[in-house]
Subunit: 363 residues, 3 copies
Amino acid sequence: MTQPNPAVMHGAQSAMAKLASRQTQFIFNEWYVAAMAGEVNRTLFKRTILGRSIVFFRTQAGEAVAMDDRCAHRSYPLSASTLDGDTIVCRYHGIRYDAEGNWIEVPSQEKCPKNTGVRSYKLIEQGALIWIWMGDKTAADTAHMPTQPWMVASEWARTNGAMHLKGNYVSLHENLMDLTHLTYLHADTIGTPDYAKAQFDVVLNEHEFILRRNVVPTKLPPVWGKPTGLEGSETAARIAQSRFVAPSLHEVSVTFYESTLPAETRPEFQIKTAHLVTPETHSSTHYFILHGRNFALEDTAIGEFMHENLFAAFNEDVVGLALVEDALERADDEFYEISIGSDRASVAMRRYLKMRADSERAE
Amino acid sequence: MTQPNPAVMHGAQSAMAKLASRQTQFIFNEWYVAAMAGEVNRTLFKRTILGRSIVFFRTQAGEAVAMDDRCAHRSYPLSASTLDGDTIVCRYHGIRYDAEGNWIEVPSQEKCPKNTGVRSYKLIEQGALIWIWMGDKTAADTAHMPTQPWMVASEWARTNGAMHLKGNYVSLHENLMDLTHLTYLHADTIGTPDYAKAQFDVVLNEHEFILRRNVVPTKLPPVWGKPTGLEGSETAARIAQSRFVAPSLHEVSVTFYESTLPAETRPEFQIKTAHLVTPETHSSTHYFILHGRNFALEDTAIGEFMHENLFAAFNEDVVGLALVEDALERADDEFYEISIGSDRASVAMRRYLKMRADSERAE
Amino acid sequence: MTQPNPAVMHGAQSAMAKLASRQTQFIFNEWYVAAMAGEVNRTLFKRTILGRSIVFFRTQAGEAVAMDDRCAHRSYPLSASTLDGDTIVCRYHGIRYDAEGNWIEVPSQEKCPKNTGVRSYKLIEQGALIWIWMGDKTAADTAHMPTQPWMVASEWARTNGAMHLKGNYVSLHENLMDLTHLTYLHADTIGTPDYAKAQFDVVLNEHEFILRRNVVPTKLPPVWGKPTGLEGSETAARIAQSRFVAPSLHEVSVTFYESTLPAETRPEFQIKTAHLVTPETHSSTHYFILHGRNFALEDTAIGEFMHENLFAAFNEDVVGLALVEDALERADDEFYEISIGSDRASVAMRRYLKMRADSERAE
């Protein structure tokens, strides 16, 4: 093009205005992964989540707790203070907080001011993960945790890890929703040339968005070919489903089998990946990953092989999305993006995220 | 707390709105320490003070002078130019300034434009320090220098030094005004466990604010125990006074003695520290320190011992206040701080600083 | 001066408001040097010009092409993608662009959206330089290239190079327009003490601005004295002309001769320098340089000697203008600059640049 077509540009910009982006407010009334269980122990630990600096520790009884990482008196970070039993003593003027964030001692005076302290957060530990409710603690929706059965069930073997993404969390969700990118961004790892052109279908529910892609027949890359024993076959099947579960969780499920065998008797291999998306700031994201398989449960070598190869691929996403973030940061008045057919689920998801953020803001 | 109490939050925010903070304008009609005397010599020297870039040198007659560090023609820094006798020749187009900042030569033309040059500043050198008046030079209040008698008197022995603080100057004043922090931030250096709980009283004058704390009986930390010979006593007295003298000066005076001896005959040891506070930017401060004692005047080893130990402690403040600054920078709409009883002098001082800044701005 | 004179300050500020500065919009309807010819080849190459990130490559037929460096789908940089023949395949989702920036393939669907792609740019290669038209490609003014005859003519020998300037492009134009700075900023390289005081005259045309300075008699610095054989003479002539040709080009021409010889028979030596000014951002500039001589055409040693000495001098400009940029960035409400007689051409040029930017913006 010699110049952007004004009609196309304005149309695209109108469409974009309805979608969540790096400018959109965070969604607070949600569960996010705050940390891996092993990260929270008897040493004060800090992490920024949805732009808030939060301090974590584990009580003597073993319960993980979290509160704002800033003394309510003169803003000294509690994470740079002292853990004393189940209390934190601010290292600046000695104000003591209980595990709920309440002031319980002010050394220079007899009584504590009432109703004073720092905001604390509801945490729930499930399997390898510690979840945090970023909204009002008393309104935490404990009945609807994002955790999926396979993430904790004994019928699945799991590995996990974490990466730091220099990009907005919406871009990561979008990346996961449209796996046509496997052919290009992951050409050297988990992608194959036929992936992008494979047939797909979309399911759009009220707050669940699914894109399912059937790559049949195909040749599996080693990361899946080796563990399933389908390496070498030119007629393998790779049925992939990207599912937006919550602002904090995107689940990718893939089934592999030999397509030339009868459906009733062929062995099927399933892997599932929980992409756990925790915004740090508007331009950075904590990216936790839980990967599961329903086969070779005891074979730790296979688990390690898949983990290593997968993380090499996820690192390609991290590098690529940082480049996208750079471009988005430089966006000017003429900035627009064009959506295509395979973005249908992702566009619906982004519209949902925007609606959630807007309705929270309206409250 | 599960959530901030809205009434407490709004109350605290209203109270904060009346206090100087990192958002408050600088106070220009004041004396600040610009430099240690030894820093200003026959080499051009630059320093940013209250956000202004200023160049200093000493004339051939030995007088320290200061002017804005930017050629009025095309903004080349004079500090990167040439000192020629008592003039500066801009290294860009050769415009020559006298020691008052006036243009006295433009090489490419015969005459200089009139009334042209850069703003110069009134400096006064007293003892180890060079003071600068940041307001209108002709209105410099030379009758009321912040210098205290002990800072230049021969009855006192002194050491001095300087640190760079990545924090706002108001936070440093506040830090000095409430020494309950000695027990916590300085637990490993100059603090003792009983300090924070010791009885204190407050004197609030029109533009002087004092907090006096009597720690009796106590055990002195080595930094004071050794030089006074009171090390080991469990019944020492430590009478500390924090006094806000001016936006540029906070004086801490401490008297030590053996509390079990009769008041008339017991030896008393006094130390005084001038904490010289010169804002660099809204988030950084030049922190000059002059420390004096009225005993062991000739004993340089004692002077060095105290200086070294004190600077280790002041460095803890510098590190801690940088953490506070980080927290303040991230303040959002829900940000508030709660004051306590021992903040009474500090709150009055911050109200005074705000009033001074506001009234200057109103002019 | 003790304080800025309010009348002088306001007068200067009013005058400044009419001149282009680092706050002024870029001028897009212009030719700029995008790259040296050798920089653009069969590897994707990116450069920011007038704040836009642009990707370059050379087609298989050898033609240099340029387009916006951001996929119109989801903003992945094309420069981090794959060059495939004369097309770029986005590394994210495989969208393929032709050399004009049009979408020609979307792998996940059969048809491409119409009128979609990224903006492409008109390039013209002349000699060592590739020029880019930053405005509407179809409106590129190919009849008025800034290239001057000597920049490509065989009667001239040339060397070239490039530097990166941490400063606004207007400052560089101004630097070039008033060479009185040679005596000061270049005292150690190409300046001589008499340069700043030499007689000059000014020609102001509609969009051409010239300052001509006659330094006669003078002693040439080695950079010119050696190549011309005039080294040692105290009566050399150095006739320098600074000419603003376009926002992207400032030409400096200098003639040297022995002033005591008769005008009709004396040998004259001419050098010309094209200072090619391509704004990168509002605070940085690509500074390309083409240097020519009309003597000793075959003597590469002389060419290298002059090139090396000149670049040492131009580096002094780059260092000095970065200091000026720092000062300009800190400008507050009281900021002003005073112009002098030798700024007359430069002030006219800056007024012209402002008028150009404003009229583009008005469109």
